[in-house]
Amino acid sequence: MSRSRDIRSFLVDLSIYGVLVFAYFFLVLRFFGGWLTDLFTHHRLAYAFVAILLMVAQAAGLEVVSQLILKWIRGKKS
């Protein structure tokens, strides 16, 4: 029983997380695409810094979102 509850929580977590993530990346592609292309073409040094920062920020942000969703699900269960 406990294992099936864990699996259900995990699936709920993944579903919410998946929707948020896909909404996020469509927004990124729509609003950041032009700016990043301009940086790549004309300001390569700035592009290099921004690229690393964006990846680090996304990794940290997705980790935080994932932890918050898990906490929310566990809070609802108790």
């Binding site: 998946g18 690229a51 990846m55 990794a59």
Partner: protein, 309 residues
């Protein structure tokens, strides 16, 4: 959808799906999956120089969360990581210079593709050979070890003489790694292995864990859990440096990397969870065909002009 930086048109859902699959592999097998991500990107139409740089940036994102988890578990040998970063950064520069030289003569796809095919095929056959060799050794179950502990112990027995030989090299400066349980080892041995890992990483893309991890465990004698954690931590630093170098040379499409990473972040959670339900040394044999699939994708890409749509 058109990605203007690299000039390719790829379905972003397909990209996220690729990242998702690679994330599962990473979470399950404990490898980055670049031997699939890189070839798949190439088969989808991304030029090889962009494959290398973009995959490296993607690895930075994937490694951050994993390294943090390993840090809380105490699996990072900071002294070892600091030395490895130095060697890796030098190796990365060599790899970056190699890519730039190949771009100048217009042979990036062919040379990097050929090297990747040789390396990935070699990894598959090594895993099969290692699994076969380990299965031939006497069982350690009678000594009260679990099946997995028995497999790890057999690995150590199989490669122990290489570890002892490396640790006996007295090339100063020597260093002790108490967190990894190593009394004395030459700094040059650590630098050499990390240099090779860095060169492969920036030449083929990804974290090159398939080179670095076996070398750390079987040549340096680092305990596996410390090797995994330290490798991940070191990759965050060195892959960031490598990604920066590649981005300066116009080899990184950050939009593709960000899209792939969204899928990888989800897949990694599933992969890590699956390890609770699947254990045992047969898992390593299940891993063996994967680099071969990557090699096959590169062959497909080179022969057809990489237009898998």
């Amino acid at each position: 959808m058109h990605f203007p930086i690299s000039g390719v048109t790829i379905d972003p859902v397909l990209l996220a799906g690729l990242g998702f699959l690679v994330g599962i592999l990473g979470g399950f097998f404990g490898v980055g999956g670049s031997f699939l991500a890189g070839p798949a990107l190439f088969a989808l139409g991304l030029p090889m120089n962009f494959v290398v740089g973009t995959d490296l940036v993607h690895i930075v994102g994937k490694s951050i969360a994993a390294a943090r988890k390993h840090h809380t578990l105490g699996n990072i040998d900071l002294r070892l990581a600091a030395i490895m970063v130095l060697g890796t950064i030098v190796g990365i520069q060599v790899g970056v210079n190699g890519i730039e030289a190949l771009k100048k003569i217009g042979k990036v796809d062919q040379v990097v593709g050929l090297v990747a095919i040789i390396v990935y095929t070699g990894i598959s056959f090594f895993v099969i050979w290692e699994g076969w060799r380990t299965s031939k050794m006497p069982s350690l179950k009678a000594k009260g070890k679990t099946e997995n502990q028995s497999a790890v112990a057999k690995d150590k027995m199989a490669f122990g003489r290489f570890t002892r030989w490396i640790q006996r090299i007295h090339l100063y400066p020597m260093i002790s790694l108490p967190h990894s349980g190593i009394k004395s080892i030459s700094v040059w041995a650590i630098l050499g292995i990390s240099f090779i890992g860095g060169a492969f990483s920036s030449f083929l893309g990804g974290g090159a864990g398939y080179i670095r991890m076996p070398c750390m465990v079987y040549l340096l004698g680092i305990p596996t859990h410390i090797a995994v954690g330290t490798d991940l931590f070191e990759i965050v630093v060195s892959a960031s440096v490598g990604s920066f170098q590649h981005a300066l040379h116009g080899n990184v499409d950050i939009l593709i990397a960000l899209v792939m990473h969204t899928g990888a972040a989800i897949g990694a959670q599933i992969g890590a969870t699956l390890t609770q339900y699947f254990t045992g040394p047969r898992i390593r044999l299940a891993f063996a065909p994967l680099p071969l699939i990557g090699a096959g994708l590169i062959v497909y890409g080179l022969m057809t002009g990489h237009q898998m749509k």
